[in-house]
Symmetry: C2
Subunit: 201 residues, 2 copies
């Protein structure tokens, strides 16, 4: 009763992040129930995705043009580089419309247990950017926008140590209570960071 083409697609969908076998089933049946146009557009976009999207040779983010629209935008502040773990973090920060500078995608975080060492990240490239500077003048600040996890902390400490000799200010995103959070339910570590990172009114 379960046709093969359907099963194959369910298996493929369940490989995607956040999609279990049940959700994959629901999705495929939804596509079957929908107009064939949905399947056709999904198929078309997927088939050309890897050709259309490349990595920016400057920041390492995903782009259709090289350098990407951020790196080639002269209205942005090229003296501040926001260092992120992965390309999607760049997208999320861009959507917040908070950051006027440019980016650097590390391509991961240092995690010895998972076999990720500093050599696997784009740290050499970051140092190159600090050395050669950018069209708009040399880099003045590096904002480390890494997750407040063990791996993020380790990577931030490593970068701080290795970049000590460069005349660049290194900062990190504030860690503390999320907006709308409740002191009652916040974990102790986050609460402790909120205290240590407290700011003047």
């Amino acid at each position: 009763m379960t046709p093969n083409a359907l099963d194959r697609l369910v298996t493929l969908f369940s490989k995607l992040p956040g999609i279990g076998k049940k959700s994959a089933g629901r999705i495929v049946y939804h596509i079957l129930d929908s107009s064939p146009a949905l399947a056709a557009s999904l198929s078309k976009e997927l088939s050309s995705l890897h050709q259309a999207i490349i990595r920016c040779s400057v920041c390492g983010g995903f782009t259709e043009t090289n350098p990407c629209s951020v790196c080639s935008d002269s209205n942005r502040d090229h003296s501040i580089i926001c260092v992120v773990e992965q390309a999607q973090d760049m997208r999320i920060i861009e959507e917040a419309r908070e950051f006027p500078g440019v980016y650097h995608v590390l391509g991961g975080l240092i995690a010895p247990l998972e076999g990720v060492s500093p050599a696997n990240l784009t740290i050499d490239k970051l140092i190159d950017r600090l050395r050669t500077g950018t069209p708009k003048g040399s880099v003045k600040e590096l904002i480390l926008a890494l997750n407040p996890t063990v791996e993020g902390d380790t990577t931030a400490l490593y970068l701080q140590k290795i970049l000590k000799s460069y005349p660049v200010e290194i900062t990190r995103l504030a860690s503390g209570m999320p907006v709308g959070g409740n002191i009652e339910y916040i974990d102790k570590l986050t609460l402790s960071r909120s205290f240590r990172g407290r700011v003047k009114f």
Copy 2:
């Protein structure tokens, strides 16, 4: 910084059930980070899905052959028809390996507020199946495996009424406490159904 091809795919994925805009972004970046083979297989399966999968002319389920493997299986009990709302319910019941009979997909539930009337369902086809019988003899039981919701209850009552004149036993799936459930947290309606549907030890 956000390329168009990427955005288009994120928009398409966020149209699928259970996938919001954030998950869609995660999925597309995952596909970009993965080997192009994943995107290629997804694209290929999606492009042929609507050609490969058709509706069984007997039960209405999705199938690659017509009639489907359940309807054409002479080892199954064709005297019991399990009536389900949609094709995916058939898949879920098949996976439980509990039901030896055949299926009938209604294609929805009666919901006047959403404009779904009995005429929109495959009720005529179900009556045809009761009239003409199946290769293995006439139908003896109809199990209504419809969700215990207002729409499911309405549809079950309607089917019971309209099929009164046919010599077929009509049953419904038991409704009550889920296995592993806790009386403390169960809603009153479910508890009341558990009492009314109580069974002898």
